[in-house]
């Protein structure tokens, strides 16, 4: 059996790095940690064009797509355009997050109430400027031992 500690990072494709930076840093509060192919040495080594961001404990690379990306319709905020990434939001700041989305005109679906017998509370669904689907959700078990070490059994 293969053994691992945790998720190290994900890679998503985007088609505009400047828009992406604005979205993940200025709106979602992430931190940009590195960029590749914006110095001569990287270009001479033939590296791909990508940047690295950290959102809380989530490290992800955004790679500049070399081909046009399939884009979901403007008014579609929920789906699996490749995949969807979900982030936990503290219950007490959920309304604040909704207000920030409205302020920045970020389209979203929700809040959606999850089944009461599960650990998930509410979710909003949205996508980044390149059409990558994302989700912010609260956990009903926030603050409990189960939340500290998630047990995904029973999530449907």
């Amino acid at each position: 059996m293969a053994r691992m500690n945790s998720i190290s990072h994900s890679v998503i494709n985007v088609d505009d790095l400047a828009e992406c930076e604005h979205f993940y840093v200025d709106i979602l509060g992430g931190e940009k940690r590195s960029a590749c192919c914006f110095d001569t040495e990287d270009t001479m080594r033939g590296r791909s064009v990508h940047e690295t961001y950290i959102l809380q404990d989530y490290v992800f690379f955004v790679a500049l797509a070399e081909r046009p990306l399939p884009k979901p319709p403007e008014n579609q905020h929920r789906g699996l355009n490749g995949f969807r990434t979900a982030f936990c939001v503290p219950q007490k700041t959920f309304d604040e997050t909704l207000a920030a989305f409205k302020k920045h005109n970020i389209g979203f679906e929700g809040p959606v109430e999850h089944p009461r017998n599960g650990p998930f509370g509410q979710s909003i669904y949205f996508k980044d400027p390149s059409g990558n689907f994302m989700e912010f959700l609260t956990r009903r078990d926030e603050g409990t031992p189960a939340f500290a070490k998630p047990n995904f059994l029973g999530i449907g």
Partner: protein, 307 residues
């Protein structure tokens, strides 16, 4: 972490005041620039050119072109660095016709900035310095429209020009998928047609790519500098930079400011622990005071107060 620029700093930068270019022969260069229509102001009166013999020419709108005799540190023919001069379209077209008659090679390079995409005219001066002639009705004849510089790290250059100096980014190339598709769509012919220094072959090191080489645009940033523009290109090769302790020299880009702006700039750059030379006052010539610094691409810059 770099600090944000004081909000008023950008308002003090009025535009490009001058360019200093290296020329192999002062006599030959003067004749060439004279034929373009530049008026001579005098010799050996430009402070930044140091001991090298120089000729100062007047461009439109109180700007200057300084020809400094000396060897070029890097070959300007393979660089994206250039100076663009604006003149009314009729005058520009007449000039192109005259130059063609005299046997000067006129290039129609492709550029990525939308405002330059449709009307590109380039020539080299006798030392290989690239000159772009921009048609702009209403512009003073041969005024400096924009200058292009190279850097080996465009994010550091963005930090310097946008964050430190507060210059707005008018356009960027290399941040979008569309930029790469546009470069790639032209294939090898695109490389030939593109302005030297604006494209590179990306020889991939990723083994999973089926396409082993891809034609890419060099990332570019266009900053608004008063009524002029500054283009910064990521160089497709490592180039020779001046020594770290040398803060003024040629080639050089001049940015005009006010007395207050010069003081503010000096204070700000000192706070950032950036090595500067000056401000110094000059007894003669068009510059009354100046401050020298190198940008992150090791390009010599001179902030100056014109007399």
């Amino acid at each position: 972490m770099l600090q944000k620029t004081p909000p008023s700093l950008n308002t003090k930068i009025k535009g490009i005041s001058h360019v200093v270019v290296d020329v192999e022969s002062l006599d030959v260069a003067e004749k060439f620039y004279d034929a373009l229509g530049f008026a001579s102001v005098g010799h050996d009166q430009w402070p930044v050119a140091g001991a090298a013999p120089s000729a100062t020419l007047e461009a439109g709108a109180g700007q200057y072109v300084v020809l400094a005799k000396g060897p070029a540190r890097n070959d300007p023919r393979i660089s994206a660095a250039h100076t663009a001069y604006a003149l009314p379209k009729g005058a520009r077209d007449n000039l192109v016709e005259t130059l063609t008659t005299k046997g000067v090679a006129v290039h129609r390079f492709r550029e990525d900035r939308p405002s330059e995409a449709g009307d590109n005219v380039y020539i080299d001066d006798p030392s290989g310095n690239r000159i772009q002639l921009v048609a702009r009705d209403g512009a003073p004849a041969l005024s400096i429209d924009h200058a292009g510089l190279e850097t080996n790290n465009i994010l550091w250059s963005r930090e310097f020009y946008q964050t430190w100096l507060g210059l707005p980014v008018e356009h960027r190339v290399g941040w979008k998928t569309d930029d790469y598709l546009a470069a790639k769509s032209l294939g090898e012919k695109g490389m030939e047609a593109a302005m030297p220094g604006s494209r590179y072959w990306n020889e991939r090191y990723s083994q999973f790519e089926t396409e082993k080489k891809a034609l890419r645009p060099c990332p570019q940033l266009y900053f608004t500098v008063g009524g002029t523009s500054l283009a910064v290109y990521l160089a497709s090769r490592q180039y020779q930079a001046p020594r770290d302790d040398v803060l003024s020299g040629t080639p050089c880009l001049g940015l005009s400011t006010t007395d207050e702006g010069l003081k503010q700039m000096a204070g700000f750059l000192r706070e950032q622990e950036r090595a500067i030379e000056g401000p110094v006052t000059h007894a003669k010539g068009p510059i009354a005071a100046s401050l020298s610094v190198k940008d992150p691409g090791a390009n010599f810059l001179e902030f100056c107060v014109l007399r």
